[in-house]
Structures are given as C-alpha cells and as structure tokens.
Symmetry: C2
Subunit: 230 residues, 2 copies
C-alpha cells in the first residue's frame, strides 16, 4: 500500500525519556512490548542540553518515528529547586538523608505526566511509561506508586470515555542495581545515557544522582560505561 | 521596615486566568478572599494573543504583583483539537450537543493545574482557583468536579507533606447567567475579558463559547459589554 500523507506511524504507548539510565531501561521495556512514542521534556534543568543529546541518541538507537520534545521553561521561572534555580546549589550527595532534598522540583512529575497523557490521548495510545523509582529515589513525593495510582484515577476521569490510559512504572520497586541488571538483560544502551544533575561535559560523581548510579553499578558488579570526574 | 531584595509579595492562592469571563469572575472571588497570584497559560490556541491581552488588562485592574505566563506550545504540536490545530475547523456552535466537540484539547486542564500546583507549592500558597464550569460547559471530561476531586488527591500525594493545596472551583455548578450576575455583584471587569474561540478582532458570535456567553447575558438580563460580528 502506498504511503499517503495522512498515514501516521502507530504508537501504542508514550515513554517519558529523560535520557537517564532509568528512562533508557524503561524505554527498552516498552520497545520490547510494542511500538512506543518517545517524549522528552526540557524544563530548564542545568543539564538540559546534555539530556536532550542522550534522548536523541536513544530515539536513534530504537528507531522511534513518533518523538516529541516539549519545552516547559516555566518550571525554572517558578524556581524552588536546585535543579532549575542557579541561585540554589546542587548539594553533594547524601543518599541516606530522610528529608526532601533541594533538587526536588515542585510537582514536576505531574507536569511531565500531563503532557504524556495529552499526547497518548491524541495518538490513541493506551499506556504511558515512566521510569520512576520509589525506594531507591531521593524521597520525592511524586515518585511514589501511591501518587501514580491517584494520578491514574484523575486520568480516567479527565480524558475521553474509552481512552483507557494506564500509567506504567516498571521500575518503581526496583533497586538501582536491579535496574542496571535489567538494562543489561534487555541490551539497553546505557552508554548513551546521562544521569548527572550538575555537569554536562563529564559526570561529577558527587551529586545524589551520580552517587546512586555509581553505587548501583558497584552492587550489580557491572562496569559503568560512563567516565567520572573523580 | 525597609524593603529588601529578598522580600517577595505574599500570595495565598494561584488563579488560572485565561482572560475569559469565567476566569475574570473567579479572579474577582479570589481577590475578595485574599492575595492571589495570577497565572496565564499560552497553549498555541487560535486566539492566544487576544487572551493574553485580556490577562494583562485583568492583572492591571487587580494590581497583581505575582504574575506568571507559561508557554506550553507542545499542546499544539500534540494537536487533536480545533482550538490548536488549524487543520480542524472550529464548528459553529451547538450548545445542545451530547458528544465531546472538536474544540476539546486532550487532558488540557491537567496540564494547566499541574503548572498552577507547582507554582503554588513554590510560593507556599494553599489554593489553586480554576473557573471551570460543569453543567453549562461543552461536555469536556476535565471540566467536571469529579475530575478535580481526583486530581486534588494526586496533589496531596505528589507535593511535599504539609503543602496542603486545595483546588477551588467556585463556578463549577453555576449556569453562565449566574456567573454573570456574580460578576456584576463583585464588579468584575467583564469588559476586559475575551471568550471567542475563533476570532481576535471582534468576537465571532457563532462559536460554542460566544453562544454560551450571549445566552448567559440574555438570561441574566444584562447587556454584554463586548461587540459581536453578527
């Protein structure tokens, strides 16, 4: 059948792909299950350009035709986080801390999910994948499955009858080391990912995100393909 | 006490101000109750510039110091609605229709609310006001209180403990004529508002939004300060 202008590539899911390790493994899971569309969101975070480069590399590797980059610079106008506000320092990592760290971006995941759900509804896709991790995360309230369950109920009520979009969090109860092992199992291209919150040339090795990643590779007994400053 | 650089104007609520009639009356209610911050969202809708002008006029009238304009052009990239996609016509109004009209923007209100909640959390405000109307609306699923209740539960779980942000929908069960009477009672500047979905120079008088507005003024026995093409 000849391709017409109206013919659009099929997508049965939308995956939020930040360009980090967790999103790459989530993308690998979605790609194994069907035909995902990849969504990347720029929100004025310090390492925006580096994360976008990782997203581009991942869409290329998975030959994704449905890709969307959403700019929501307003999150840095709103401020309140060390990730988007240059006046607040990214702290040296402390993965054992109990309080919510200054890298928390207020209600960020709801903003990301709302974009993903809007796109899924327009595409007719039935699932949104997000690589959030509950136990091994930094204590952000919007990374817990409890939050995603509540959001999913709002989705059921706020989309067209029959839209039936689920929020799938395949990594939610995994440790970083388990995610890395899953990545190896699925041949997820972990060398294309970027995790550092602070730097864009070479990972700092000191921020929460770098520390979690390094500890995960160590626990998994696998060598991290990225280089670090320290 | 001398003003320091760090001193920020207090805000106890965030109001979503599209620039339409309902949002102006909602803003009047919030201004009567406390010190609102005004949020406007551009989402690539046809009448974006005209709505922004109405927002500017309303912030001026209410002397609002905390104002934010968020651009989410991705909603028009996503498409799927006559409001954002120039290839889909805005239908002539049919306010008695039972199905969801082509002006529905997929999951739009969740995108707007997520921005408002993020900003409220950063400001320490305890309420978000949105001028959604359930019964007199066009059948959009994300305009029902049931949806806002579900979203509010997601907010409680996805923000910092103690953030305690409510979603207030003061017009949700009002008819357009009641909203207009409330606007007159509160001296809301209805002459500064813009409701038309289609045109920006003079309201078309034909789209759903114009028809609802015109019918509301007629039922209320009040003269609409705006001019119409027909």
């Amino acid at each position: 059948m000849p391709k017409t202008e109206k013919e659009k590539p099929v997508a049965d899911s939308v995956v939020l792909v930040s360009g980090g390790l967790d999103s790459a493994v989530t993308a690998a899971i979605a790609a194994r299950l069907g035909h995902p569309a990849f969504l990347h969101v720029n929100y004025g975070q310090r390492t925006e350009a580096r994360e976008l480069a990782a997203f581009d590399a991942l869409t290329g590797r998975y030959k994704i035709k449905n890709r969307l980059i959403a700019d929501i610079a307003y999150l840095s106008d709103i401020g309140g986080s060390a990730l988007t506000d240059r006046k607040i320092d990214v702290p040296k990592g402390d993965v054992g801390r109990k309080d919510i760290p200054p890298t928390y971006v207020p209600f960020r995941n709801a903003n990301l999910l709302s974009i993903a759900i809007s796109w899924a509804e327009a595409l007719g896709a039935k699932a949104v994948f997000i690589g959030a991790v509950e136990e091994d995360s930094s204590g952000y309230p919007d990374c817990r499955r409890e939050f995603f369950d509540a959001f999913e109920k709002a989705v059921a009520l706020g989309t067209k009858p029959g839209a039936g979009i689920s929020i799938i969090t395949p990594l939610i109860h995994m440790r970083k080391s388990e995610i890395i092992k899953k990545g190896v199992e699925l041949a997820a291209p972990m060398e294309l990912t970027w995790s550092c919150y602070k730097d864009s040339d070479m990972a700092c090795g000191n921020c929460d995100s770098c520390l979690l990643r390094l500890r995960g590779f160590k626990e998994a007994g696998i060598t991290d393909p990225l280089e670090y400053k320290k």
